[in-house]
Symmetry: C2
Subunit: 122 residues, 2 copies
Amino acid sequence: MYIEIDFNSDEAIYVQLRNQIFMAIATSQIKEGESLPSVRALADTIGVNMHTVNKAYSTLRQDGFLKVDRRRGAVVAIDIDKLTSMEKMKAYLRPLIARGICKGLTQEEIKELVDDLYDELS
Amino acid sequence: MYIEIDFNSDEAIYVQLRNQIFMAIATSQIKEGESLPSVRALADTIGVNMHTVNKAYSTLRQDGFLKVDRRRGAVVAIDIDKLTSMEKMKAYLRPLIARGICKGLTQEEIKELVDDLYDELS
DNA sequence: CTAATTGTTATACCTAGAATATAACAACCA
DNA sequence: TGGTTGTTATATTCTAGGTATAACAATTAG
């Protein structure tokens, strides 16, 4: 798993980490049932504190992307709840779409971006 | 202009404010060339500090949504730069799409959400 | 059995950002 | 002239992010 953190970004490290894990799962670099590195190991390789990685893992567990097993560590286990996922996605999307409309982006242009990203990420 | 702030949200007030102004412009509640309330007036009506509103206005100006005129205040003036807008949108969208793919959302389902939101916001 | 590693929790500390509170400035307008 | 505009400056409080140790029970490897 290739993780790259931008320490000069205004985005929190644990958020960057979370997003990269999203992308790794989406692109099947990590698959359902496979284990992620231990919090200490990953923290060591990317050069951050153990608790920063733990926070990323904890939020991923809470949002239904991981399950933590004593013997296997953090295992990818997606909790599929389409209704909730759609609602969350809609809430996240709303201000972005509004921003795009203000900037004159058309419905088709935005959906082309979705197509591009969907291809890039799966 | 109807602004509603959730003081218990983990989202910064100036970000909520920015997003609601996006939505107000997208839905034509405020139109190109029209003025927004003064920083002091808006701060007073929603019950926050003047600088919080000023920060929202400043970022909107910097991102090309407003222009500030001494005599007319903050005026809606969209700086259209489609290439930059598309790139920004793509960067914002990427982790969201990745998250959706992980949760099993299909390309069509995501584009339906875009359709719904585009209708809702224009 | 022992030693090392696992996730987890707790505590303490530092820093940066968010928000508030005043205050002042020049420019504008009634 | 007096009030309002956007803007800037300074100071304070509070919270979140990140780091640093430390300890715990459970598991695993030697």
